[in-house]
């Protein structure tokens, strides 16, 4: 396709479109043929952040990489939105959670094959945001999918001391 998209815009598109933070390596991988150095990418990110000076968002660096964040001060306004993320638990949300709890560590693919429908990325994101689940590693299969598991916060939420406090489910009737 066209090459009219600048490297800067490609990085911008990736950061805004990605559901998870992106590392410099993730961003460098977008340009496999062009070989752009991580330093160059860091420069581009700085440049973008300067351009976002008057915007309500910025690129920020967190533990797992770069992501787009709404600047401080807007939360008071946004709390009026009634469709803010995670203001309800759907059936799909609870089912996904239950599968992660019982089958951990699991990949998205595992969840898909148990539920028979593809996993909504917003659900995983919502669970991660709530810190009920975390990424505990990567499966050694093609694509190295992330392995998901529940957290202590999840147990706290349900007043459980440890996972074995969850009801025992026999294999034939597993979740």
């Amino acid at each position: 396709m066209s090459n009219s998209e600048s490297n800067k815009n490609i990085i911008e598109a990736a950061l805004f479109a990605s559901h998870d933070p992106l590392t410099l390596q993730d961003l460098a991988n977008l340009f496999d043929d062009k070989k752009i150095s991580k330093n160059k990418i860091r420069e581009i990110i700085d440049e973008l952040n300067k351009e976002y000076n008057n915007r309500a968002f910025e690129i920020s660096l967190v533990a797992s990489g770069y992501r787009i964040q709404i600047r401080e001060g807007y939360d008071q306004w946004l709390s009026k939105l009634n469709n803010m993320p995670s203001n309800r638990y759907s059936k799909a949300f609870l089912e996904t959670l239950v599968i992660i709890a019982y089958r951990q560590p699991v990949t998205r693919g595992d969840i898909e094959s148990i539920r028979g429908v593809s996993v909504n990325p917003n659900i995983i994101r919502g669970l991660l945001e709530r810190e009920w689940i975390k990424i505990v590693g990567h499966k050694e299969t093609p694509g190295k999918p992330e392995l998901l598991a529940t957290t202590k916060k999840f147990l706290d939420y349900f007043n459980l001391k440890n996972l074995s406090d969850l009801p025992v489910i026999k294999d034939e009737e597993s979740v």
Binding site: M84, P85, N159, L160
Partner: protein, 262 residues
């Protein structure tokens, strides 16, 4: 029209005579399997057979098409496909059309419909949607052609995002009940693990022929935390299986369970 001679068939296709089963019936089993798996049903298979031979859909040579159709479903069976009964129903429909075609036809009797007419209508109808489905597949769509852009709010106060819709309250209640279960836990004698399935059956049983029952009534705090968790999972399972639904008239009001209305 077509006639059958020994085990061969002849089909006149827009003036061209085809006298043998096309070669592409004999393709490597693996490739064949993939082709067979691709069919979305008997109508799709028939459309494929018609298209493959460039036959006019308004004038289908029923005899050879029926034979090929039967050939294909035999192959599917031999490859241990779980053949949907729909395929067999179509085979008998074709056989019926075939026999009606063989009945001497009185040319002056214009009122009798071509025995193939109803099948042709179905094929055209199905084809219309089949085409639309490939067309809709090309429309610019989210996560393929365009992507949603978003930013994360991290300064959001916990209170503000506290869920307000029924399921969340369901969990609030769940927490509540767990706490009460904790208080009563000392009375609990260690019992065998309770079965979620068993609990599902019990809940279904009590909802059968009953008015909606308050959600909280299903929790017996004397069973301890384990019993409460089992009940909760059982309700989730029942909702997931579309057996039971959760009712709530307005936020903060009582939550009821009732059998899913079929």
């Amino acid at each position: 029209m077509s006639i059958i001679e020994d085990n061969k068939f002849e089909a006149s296709v827009k003036g061209t005579l085809i006298t043998e089963i096309p070669e592409d019936l004999f393709i490597p089993p693996d490739a064949l399997r993939i082709i067979l798996e691709e069919f979305e049903g008997p109508l799709d298979l028939l459309l494929y057979l018609i298209k493959k031979q460039n036959i006019d859909i308004m004038d289908i040579p029923i005899l050879p098409i029926t034979e090929q159709y039967v050939e294909y479903i035999k192959m599917m069976e031999s490859m241990k496909f779980e053949l949907a009964s729909d395929y067999l129903v179509m085979a008998s429909t074709l056989a019926e059309i075939k026999s009606r075609m063989l009945i001497p036809h009185d040319d002056e009797d214009d009122e009798e419909e071509d025995p193939r007419a109803s099948l042709v209508r179905r094929l055209l109808e199905y084809q219309k949607y089949k085409n639309l489905s490939t067309e809709i597949d090309t429309i610019s769509r989210v996560d393929r052609d365009t992507f949603l852009a978003s930013g994360i709010i991290i300064h959001f106060k916990k209170k503000d995002i506290e869920p307000t819709i029924e399921i969340s309250q369901l969990e609030e209640i769940f927490k509540d009940v767990l706490k009460r279960a904790d208080i009563l836990a000392s009375h609990e004698i260690h019992s065998e693990p309770l079965s979620v399935r068993e609990r599902m059956s019990n809940i279904l049983e009590s909802l059968t022929n009953s008015e909606p029952i308050s959600f909280i009534k299903f929790f017996d705090v004397t069973e301890g935390r384990m019993g409460v968790v089992v009940t909760f999972l059982a309700i989730l399972e029942l909702v997931k299986d579309n057996l039971v639904e959760i009712l709530q008239n307005e936020p903060q009001s009582i939550i009821y369970l009732q059998l899913k209305q079929s």
